[in-house]
Each structure stands twice: as C-alpha cells, then as structure tokens.
C-alpha cells in the first residue's frame, strides 16, 4: 500500500481556515434595547399561521402578532417598518429567544409558570386569550359543550388537546367517543364526512380549520373554552426597560380602544378636551418627558395600525376568513379581560 500515511493536511487546513473566517464575532454586549437601537430594527420571532403571521404575495409579513411587532417598532423608532420578523418553529422558538436570535418572541406562546421561572423568560401583557374550543355543525343544535352527551369527538393526536377534552368530559360526567387523527387534512375530511360531531383544538386553530371546511357557515365555534391559553410576548430576563416598553406598547393598543380612539378618528381626538386623552396622545407632552418615550408614540401607533380592536378585527375577527369572535379579547369595559393600567 502506497497511500499517503497522513490525512491530506493541506486540504484539512484549507477547510478549517474557511470555517474560521466565519467564526463567531462577539455581538454588542449589553441590554437588548441598546442592541435594537444599534441595529436600527426590532427583531421579532414569529411563526406561520394564517391571520396571526403570514406573508402576503410580496413577502411582507402581516397578521395579528405582526401588527404588535410593528407597534413596538413605532414605540422605539416611530417607524412601523423598522422591524425584522424571524420565523421560528415551535421546537426552536424558546431556545432561539434565549440565545438572542431575536429581541422578543411574538409567536403565540402560552404563558406558564415553568416558562417564566424554570426557563427564565419574562412575559408581557397577554395579547390574546386563547383556549381549547369545540367546533360543531350548526345542525346539531347545541349551544354548550355540556349538551354533547355521547358525541364523537375528533382530536388531533400529539397535542395537549387530548388530555384537556377527556378532563372536561370527565369533570362534567359526560360520555364521549374520541377519534384521534394525526393529519390536518384527514381531520377536516373526517369532520366533513360526519365521522365526528365535534372537532376540538385551540380555538384560534379551529377558526382556521373552519375556514378550510367546504361550507364554513354551517359550523359554529361554541363559546366555552376548556383550557386556558393566554398568549403573551416573551423576552429574556435582564432587560427591564425593554420589558416596560413592550408592556406599555400593548397597553397603548388596549387603552386606545377603551378611550374610543381609532385610526379613523385619532386626529380629531387630538382636539379633545379630555385630559386623559390629551395625556395619552401626547398633546400634553408631560408623559413623554417623564418616561423618555416619544410623547406621541401612542398617537403614532394608533394612526398607523389602529387600536387593539381594529388590529383584531382586521386580522382574525368575525369578518375575516379566520372568523374568530372577540370573546375574552374585549376591553374590560365590554366584559372582556383586556385591562390597561392608567397612563399617568
């Protein structure tokens, strides 16, 4: 054998050199907000789900969570386009946030105690109260999950939905027959073919499934939710000011709806004599000076994107194909859970 005795060292060296050229360079050390200012854009982790985050035909991100990301860009830069959306799959989104790949995760993460204290994430205000829902054909004539005695229930396997639904029926002492289906398409086909009376999953997902059915208008999402899925923006620990900017950006969206300020009437409201509206919109600039935010950040957000209600209706509301009812996602003054602390 006359093969060379050693590894072809020159080839290896070339490869190692090529790798070393791209070796990690230390990013700017310091809090997230400094990094955002230096970069000139907020980096937002998102998923892909119609109505919540999806690209339009020109590749521009749109959707409910996307608009909240744009609101943050307005709060920091007064420009809804100074934001980069980074797609993250459900498995990698939390580690990616932890490793600093984006500044905030707005991909519909449920706030839980383990994610807060074990994994070490801060959550901003809940922006979307989701929960497992029940989709039924209208012809069944039921108005509550408790009427579903003996029903056949379609569940997508491998989700916590399986556990929630059996807990729900057991707690209510109702008999039911589960049908577990893995594939989304098959799930829809089984439901259309009448193989099951009920389809159960996170309500936001069910809205979409309903839209994919041949005759969506023949089905109705029951009002009750059998699990709690509060979706909130997540950030890393150690960025106090960034957390507060996230908090108050969301509160500004909620507060503007409560005050009746919309993208249509925001300019008229500037002339309002109401001191709380004047403070909120920055006509009275004292809040801006005190908080070191642009005094008109709330005005700019509402002007560009609308209030919480407008963002909701535009992306996922009953008029859209997602067809999601406001439910808990209404201001507290209208019987919902959205409640912003005072802007003063």
């Amino acid at each position: 054998m006359a093969y060379p005795k050693l590894l072809p060292a020159r080839l290896v060296a070339t490869f190692v050199l090529a790798v070393a050229t791209f070796a990690p360079s230390p990013a700017f050390a310091g809090p997230t907000l400094d990094k955002i200012r230096e970069r000139g854009a907020v980096k937002v982790g998102v998923g892909t789900q119609p109505g919540f985050f999806s690209p339009d035909s020109s590749g521009r991100w749109q959707g409910f969570f996307v608009d909240i990301g744009r609101a943050l860009a307005i709060a920091v830069f007064n420009d809804p386009d100074k934001v980069e959306f980074v797609s993250a799959s459900p498995q990698q989104r939390l580690p990616a946030l932890q490793s600093g790949e984006f500044d905030i995760l707005l991909s519909g993460v449920t706030e839980t105690i383990t994610r807060a204290l074990q994994l070490g994430f801060h959550f901003g205000p809940v922006v979307f109260y989701d929960g497992q829902g029940l989709l039924v054909p209208k012809k069944l004539g039921v108005t509550s999950g408790k009427d579903l005695d003996g029903a056949t229930v379609c569940i997508q396997t491998g989700t916590t939905g399986e556990l929630n639904i059996s807990d729900f029926f057991r707690a209510n002492k109702i008999a039911f027959k589960p049908v577990a289906i893995e594939d989304t398409r098959e799930f829809i086909k089984a439901f259309e073919a009448g193989r099951c009376d009920v389809m159960t999953q996170d309500a936001s997902d069910l809205g979409l499934k309903r839209a994919l059915l041949k005759t969506p208008e023949d089905y109705v999402l029951l009002p009750e939710r059998i699990s709690k899925e509060p979706l909130a923006p997540a950030i890393r620990w150690g960025d106090d000011r960034w957390l507060e900017i996230v908090n108050w950006t969301v509160y500004a969206l909620i507060q503007s709806e409560e005050l009746g300020i919309t993208s249509q009437n925001v300019d008229e409201k500037l002339a309002s004599p109401d001191p709380s509206i004047r403070r909120f919109l920055g006509v009275d600039p004292s809040l801006g000076a005190a908080t070191q935010l642009d005094p008109k950040f709330a005005y700019a957000i509402v002007k560009a994107l609308g209030n919480y209600g407008e963002i909701f209706e535009r992306n996922v509301g009953p008029a859209t194909k997602i067809g999601f009812e406001r439910g808990l996602n209404r201001p507290w003054t209208a019987g919902g859970l959205l409640y912003a602390p005072p802007f003063r």
Partner: protein
C-alpha cells in the same frame, strides 16, 4: 417499415405475450383509468388559471392562479421584493454553471475556479455590496437558497470527504479510528437532529452575547453531515483503483500526493460519478428539512405562501408546484447520470 413492424410486435409481446404480462398490463391500465381522469380533471379541466381567490373558490379544480400570484414569493421567499432581481441573477448564474458543468469536456481545475467564483458572486448578489441594500441571510430563501445550500454542501464536503476517505484507509490507527468514528457517527444520526443541534445547542453552548449566523451554522451542519456519505462513495472509488497503479506512479517518480492528485483521484471520481449524482439529488431533497429550523427554502416558502388569508388553503397547489420544480431538477440529474454512465461504457 419492417423495423417499425418489428418494434410493434415486440411491444405487443411485451404487453400481452404471456398470461402474466396480460394480467399486469390490464391491472396497470385499470389503475391509470382510475387515477388519471380525476387527476386530469383537477389539474387541467376544472382548474382556474387566472383571476383572484374568488375565481378559484367558484371552481372545483386546482387554483393555478394562486401559483401565478405567489410565484415570486415561492421562488425567492422573504427576499426583499424590490431586490429580487438579485436573487433571480444568483439563480440564473447557478443554473448556468450547472448546465455548463454537465459537459464532461469542461471538467478541469479551471472549472473548479469558475465554480468558486460563481458561488462567491451568487452570495455577493444575495448579500449585497456597498451602494445597494444589504440583505441579511435570514431573508434569503426560495429556490436560489435550496440550490446554493445543496451545492455549498457538496462542494464543501468534497475536500473533507477525500480526507476522510483517505484517513479511513490510513495506516495510523488514531487517524483511521477518528475518521471511522466521524463517518459512522454522521451516518448514524438523522439530518434533522444535526440541524437542531446546530441551531439550538450551538447557540446555548456559545458564551452569552455571541451570536452565530443561523444559515451559516445550518450550512456547516449539512456539509459535515454529507461529507460522511461522500467519503464512503469516494472510498469505493479509491478501492476500485488497483494497487499496481500506485506502484506504477512510484516507478515513474511521482510522490504520493502527486500520484493521488494526477492519477488516482481522477480515475476514482470518474468511477463513482453516477453515485455522486445520486448523492447530489439526495442532498437537494434533504435541504427541504431546513424548514424545521425556520429557513424558507423552496418547499417551506411554498407552504408559507398558502398561509396568506387572502389565498387561504391552497396547500395542494403549493406542494404540487414545489414538487414539480424538485422533480424537474432531480429527473434532469438522474437522466444526466444515466447518460454519463452510458458514455463511459
């Protein structure tokens, strides 16, 4: 005339010559009769070729208008819309190079240099240069990305694979065991696990504040992964070269490196060229797994295109289109491999 008749007779004999052949022919015809008409109806007769989502909703067939509306997104992903001429340029350059390289007469060291230059230009086109908008790698996507990742993986894996193949046959046990260990480890884990490790574990292992480009770490992971497979193919090629050739080169006064570069490797690689093409097809198809780590290659971009609420639910069309593009590329590659083999014999 007689030759046509002869061919016709042979075809008849092949289809209906025996009872067995007749049965197989009839079953195949029945399967086609069962599958083709609905497919034809969906794909052509009932299809909508132009218009908006409302036009598609009114008909039962495929909605090719969706593909027309989403073509640029599917092909280029999130690459900035106004700058997509650059992505198109990179795609054209890579396709051109692939076309030129298919011609065995141009295989030389110059071609290698041309490829490195072409890849550098393609990356520069995508990334941007002073004077045009810089586009971060996180926004690269679609077909140019799928092709560049595949070619980058194969090209980068080549030197490493040759090293591994030689190292595996080395007389030094440490080198041999290291190479063997790497090859078996890489071939023993699924690519998806390697991708997760590269994008999830690596950032956690780095000191805080240090970040590593996701696309680059994915590219390195794919390259390392396929270098193991490539190494085994190259080893097969090396084994096909008789030892006497080495003795002959030694007698002519060649050093071992010279012999390897000028005599052994050219023959070894030529011997395994069809296997290399097969691996290339496998690499191209495997790049679609990067969707799992949030990269919008062709397939993932097609899927994301169907999540636009304005065009909700045209997943079938999106996947059929992406499948057609993959099929065109892979079919061309496999026919090419056949041609290469026939030409060699």
């Amino acid at each position: 005339m007689s030759r046509t008749a002869d061919a016709g007779r042979r075809l008849w004999a092949g289809l209906f010559g025996t009872w067995g052949n007749t049965a197989i022919t009839l079953v195949a015809l029945a399967a086609l009769a069962w599958a083709l008409p609905p497919m034809l109806r969906w794909m052509v007769l009932d299809a909508t070729w132009a218009g908006g989502p409302e036009a598609c909703a009114a008909r039962d067939g495929a909605c090719w208008a969706f593909i027309a509306a989403k073509l640029r997104f599917i092909l280029f992903g999130f690459y900035p819309f106004a700058e997509q001429w650059r992505a198109a340029g990179a795609l054209a350059l890579v396709l051109l190079m692939l076309g030129v390289s298919a011609w065995p007469r141009v295989w030389s060291a110059k071609l290698l240099v041309a490829w490195i230059a072409a890849l550098a230009v393609a990356c520069l086109l995508l990334r941007g240069w002073p004077g045009v908008a810089a586009v971060e790698t996180s926004r690269w996507g679609g077909l140019p990305l799928s092709l560049l990742m595949s070619i980058g993986a194969l090209g980068g894996a080549f030197p490493l694979a040759i090293a591994l193949a030689l190292g595996r046959r080395s007389e030094l046990p440490v080198v041999r065991w290291l190479c063997l260990g790497f090859i078996e480890l890489a071939r023993g884990v699924p690519l998806i696990a390697v991708l997760y490790a590269a994008t999830l574990v690596l950032p956690l292992a780095l000191p805080p504040g240090v970040s590593f480009d996701t696309l680059l770490s994915v590219q390195i992971a794919i390259t390392l992964f396929f270098s193991a497979y490539l190494a085994e193919i190259i080893r097969a090629g090396l084994q096909s070269i008789p030892d006497s050739q080495f003795e002959a080169t030694a007698a002519l006064g060649f050093g071992p490196w010279q012999a390897l570069r000028l005599v052994i490797l050219p023959q070894a690689l030529r011997a395994v060229a069809p296997a290399l093409v097969t691996l290339a097809i496998g690499v191209l198809q495997s790049t679609s797994l990067v969707a799992a780590v949030g990269i919008f290659d062709l397939l993932n971009a097609a899927r994301a295109a169907a999540s636009d609420p304005a065009w909700l639910g045209f997943y079938d069309e999106a996947f059929v289109f992406a499948g057609a593009v993959y099929f065109a590329l892979c079919f061309a590659a496999s026919r090419y491999s056949l041609w290469l083999e026939r030409r060699r014999n």
